[in-house]
Amino acid sequence: MDYVIEMLNIRKEFPGIVANDNITLQVKKGEIHALLGENGAGKSTLMNVLFGLYQPEQGEIRVNGNRVNITDPNVANKLGIGMVHQHFMLVDKFSVTENIILGSEPSKAGQINMKEAIMGVRQLSEQYGLSVDPNAKISDISVGMQQRVEILKTLYRGAEILIFDEPTAVLTPQEIKELIAIMKTLIKEGKSIILITHKLKEIMDVCDRVTVIRKGVGIGTVNVPETNPNELASLMVGRDVVFKTVKKDANPKETVLDIQDLVVKDSRGVASVNGLSLNVKAGEIVGIAGVDGNGQSELIEAITGLKKSESGKVSLNGKEIQNMSPRKITRSGIGHIPQDRHKHGLVLDFPIGENMVLQTYNQQPYSKNGILNYKNIYEKARTLIKDFDVRTPSEYTLARALSGGNQQKAIIGREVDRDPDLLIAAQPTRGLDVGAIEFVHKRLIEQRDRGKGVLLVSFELDEVMNVSDRIAVIYEGKIVAIVNPKETTEQELGLLMAGSTAGKKAGEEANV
């Protein structure tokens, strides 16, 4: 059996840590090979080595049996290796085509030959069923589209082996389906794929074989048909993991959050939340299921005061709070785990300790008449770091240096610790490994059981179904259905989220 890619005993060190400790990875031609591991296990690093972004301290790489020395991405490209990165590598201000041709531009007489380029892109996207508008600006297209551009970039360079680093973490269920379809086409076209993901379900669905890494060490490679999620999970974490999150039934009490006919315009002036009504009771978790871009972000920003609402009312514990300043709203009892941890959640250049009081720095005991009390601040930080198991060298480490997962834990700790009547969690587990996910879910349920309201927004259907007590389906800025997770199926939800009439019916029933 011949391998397209062989990475033998790869070792890669970073200051203070061995990211890859002689890991071996062998990929067969025409297979989808999964790379599984916890956050910080070393997956991205290994792939960056294969793609020539990092140089390994040790080990050798073979492509189609020949030993190669991949000094930089150019070499990788020439060898037919393409990578779709965990964090997209696209220039917002450029057009789709410009992004794709960048670095190998068709030109005549020293001028870029845009016609030819666009034709090339069209032709490619048809061949692989990756419909994109070659002239669209990256900043104007959806995440799913952007990912297609990433794929096209690699294909444009004639990649034979494609690396996907956590491609589904940022996608909606629909988009994930489409992506999987695309991968299958690619395989048909004779490509080979390395897929990094935390989602065991996906591995079971699409992959042929899976290599597991734990803390930088290769644990081994198994054939997917001969394994099951639980085995994979314990291989990766090194212990058994419970999936179906255990929780006793909710006993909802008085209404905490009550939203009536809320209308919110997005940056383009479109009413992306359009007469939405919803309520969350104390002691329950309401999950909002929906395809990205149906008003989830605007809804949350409106509730938390980051965006003005046009009309309608939002009341917390019976008190109207719409269009109050974010601070007033947080003070009145809302905690918010933001969707974008880097943009809203943290000041990356502050020590993790100072980030822990981002909401409360101007309250006692962290400050007194305008003067900060670092002793108390860092004391609190230490407890939170311990309680929420944030992996960081010290509370004085800059937030920037933490892994996304640990950053997320820090944010959750901060928000939960304020013990708000309503906790809003937007995509709280995006990009996290199962261990971390388990942890986050536990915390949300804990809040519920302590008689608090929780509003969970997620694109991960199974997350919504696992954690929520009620599921509100959002479609085009309205709640089109409220369903009971126990009585619904992924299929039904999928339909509702797609706004199908069938869904509507179900919705009305549910409302009765």
Binding site: L53, L90, D92, L102, G103, E105, S107, G110, Q111
Partner: protein
């Protein structure tokens, strides 16, 4: 004096005053588009002015009428060489771009004046023998209206400036090189994964700005002052920086901004001699260019969006 005469006074001097700014601002555009902030434009102008004047003084006899043009070339070379300092510091040594740029300014002034003292044993140079002089462009100058406004009493360097601005735009937005340069300034890691050598691109960007800066300084020295001293370049570099931002990091925008500055400045200088402006207290005319610029930015230009990665260092694998 009628309105046309007024234009005849203001427009040529506007173009005349704008030319040095145009070159230097273009330099700024190339540097920042590649992701390197360049506060050092002022210093680069100083070096350009200094080197061109010194060359001119030394070789006027040898090259005669050709001297000013050669002086420009020398200034470009000097600017490029000097900007290497900025490139090494801010790209290779990961220096804060602003810091390095500021240092560049201090160094340029200190060094050039120091050398003048050493070479001429006095604080400023003599006047250059071979400067640029006014010309009327044959034929074109006879076009009604346009002719007298744009093609009489002009300097060749002004036309070069405008031509170069257009060329700069073409290169930046229509060639592979331009695309790569901009990509490096927007998202270096993306560029890197596409096999573009970020460091090399940024070096090129900075060196180009060095050439332009030197060019601008030389044009100023050879058309305006005619010698080099401690007051020769006083703030033009910062005005060019402003022009670049005002022009939204776009060559044509910078061109327009520079012309606008030239216009406002010439108004402030000659305004009091003109019928409509006689009454206005001089101070208002003096501050007009700056106030207008601010108003312009506040009013219709609005937020200028710099290249995303400008001022940021690029390290492989850094999130």
């Amino acid at each position: 004096m009628d309105f046309f005469q007024v234009l005849q006074i203001i427009i040529p001097s506007m173009i005349f005053l704008a030319a040095p700014l145009i070159f230097t601002a273009l330099g700024g555009v190339y540097s920042e588009r590649s992701g390197v902030v360049n506060i050092g434009l002022e210093g680069l102008m100083v070096i350009g002015a200094f080197s061109s004047v010194v060359f001119n003084l030394t070789f006027a006899d040898t090259f005669g009428a050709l001297t000013p043009w050669l002086s420009l070339l020398v200034a470009i070379a000097a600017g490029v060489i000097f900007s290497i300092l900025h490139a090494v510091a801010s790209i290779t040594f990961k220096a804060d771009h602003t810091v390095s740029g500021v240092a560049l300014n201090f160094l340029a002034v200190g060094l050039s004046l120091f050398l003048v003292k050493i070479m001429y044993d006095k604080g400023e140079t003599d006047r250059v023998a071979e400067g640029f002089h006014k010309v009327d462009i044959p034929l074109l100058k006879d076009i009604p209206v346009i002719g007298p406004l744009f093609f009489t009493d002009a300097y060749y360097t002004s036309y070069v400036a405008i031509a170069v601005a257009v060329l700069a735009w073409y290169v930046l937005f229509n060639t592979p090189f331009g695309l790569r340069l901009r990509s490096v300034g927007e998202h270096p890691m993306a560029a890197d994964t596409m096999g573009i050598n970020v460091t090399k691109m940024r070096y090129i960007g900075v060196l180009i700005s060095g050439g332009f800066g030197g060019f601008g300084g030389a044009v100023f020295a050879l058309t305006v002052t005619g010698y080099f001293g401690h007051t020769t370049i006083s703030g033009q570099g910062f005005m060019a920086l402003a022009a670049m931002i005002f022009g939204k990091w776009h060559p044509i925008g910078a061109l327009g901004a520079a012309l606008f500055f030239g216009f406002a400045q010439s108004l402030s200088i000659v305004g009091s001699g003109l019928p409509f402006f006689k009454e206005i207290p001089n101070v208002y005319l003096l501050i007009a260019p700056y106030v207008l610029t601010i108003l312009a930015l506040t009013g219709f230009i609005g937020r200028a969006d710099a290249p995303k990665a400008s001022g940021l260092h690029y390290e492989k694998g850094k999130r």
